[in-house]
Symmetry: C2
Subunit: 194 residues, 2 copies
Amino acid sequence: MSKQVWKGAALLNPAPPVLVSCGRPGDAAMRPNLITVAWCGTVCSAPPMLSVSIRPERHSYGIIKTSGVFCVNLATRALARAADWCGVKSGREVDKFAAMGLTAAPAASVDTVLLAESPVNLECRVTQVLPLGSHDLFLAEVQAVDIDESLLDAAGRLHLEKADLLAYCHGDYYTLGKRLGGFGWSVRKKPKRR
Amino acid sequence: MSKQVWKGAALLNPAPPVLVSCGRPGDAAMRPNLITVAWCGTVCSAPPMLSVSIRPERHSYGIIKTSGVFCVNLATRALARAADWCGVKSGREVDKFAAMGLTAAPAASVDTVLLAESPVNLECRVTQVLPLGSHDLFLAEVQAVDIDESLLDAAGRLHLEKADLLAYCHGDYYTLGKRLGGFGWSVRKKPKRR
């Protein structure tokens, strides 16, 4: 390989383009909103924690900073257009749930809404906010997860491969493609032939 | 949809299964190592910053904490087996570069190594370490990015879709699949027909 050295850039890819829901019904200053975030990730297994980074000028920033709660709703192929649209539009000007024909349902463990049409909702409580520059980093504990029963088998095991999740890579939305193997496949012994 | 409410879990998917390189040649306590990390993400655009979360008991943890530098090397289909293997094995027992036939090359801007066989290397300097529980969160600025010329067109524009990057989803490695659209496609006017 022959490489060029560029100045630093946000080129960690692919990322999960999740729909973050926030706000609560009946509170005029906190009307439920959706913002699409790809600057996010898991940060801890125990306790389960994730991070989302949001620009202070975004409408959802104030709602989440004030309320301290939000939901991360995984984006599927069926939600691709909504994911893109909710990342471009502002909740200051439009009710994104209504405009996209989507449903804000109450979360089970935190006082905010989740996106009913997403099959996996991570209910989060903010533990820390770190200003970094263009974005503030919200660290949050996942208090509960809502999972659509269509993703569960008879034994109650989660089959996330059925969710048809999206990946975001350098400005483009993709489906997931071919499964190459599961964690640990490189060291697993092959079954002996008879 | 009919949902079950589970207790909190690290179910933010898909994630980028990156190979993190650290250490430096000629320093016995800092022998170059690779660790695969899916608990990572972009956290800021300006300055460009990312996070990686590492368990304190991992061999790379001490190297990165002491040196304050590492590289994030994007994982491709050609690196899938190495990515899995480097996530399972420990650098205390084996030289992962040698075992996988991979090359540790000096980074341009930080005193550590990058994975030469990865077409995109993000050279990072740690700014903050936050203990969260099972994992410590390393926040880092991307100082430089090394990009293979095979991903650049004649105008010098990056075509990351040529890199055949991997996604990691709930324990499985995937290629990226069908491209559904670019950022903003949901609001772009369709060209008029003549």
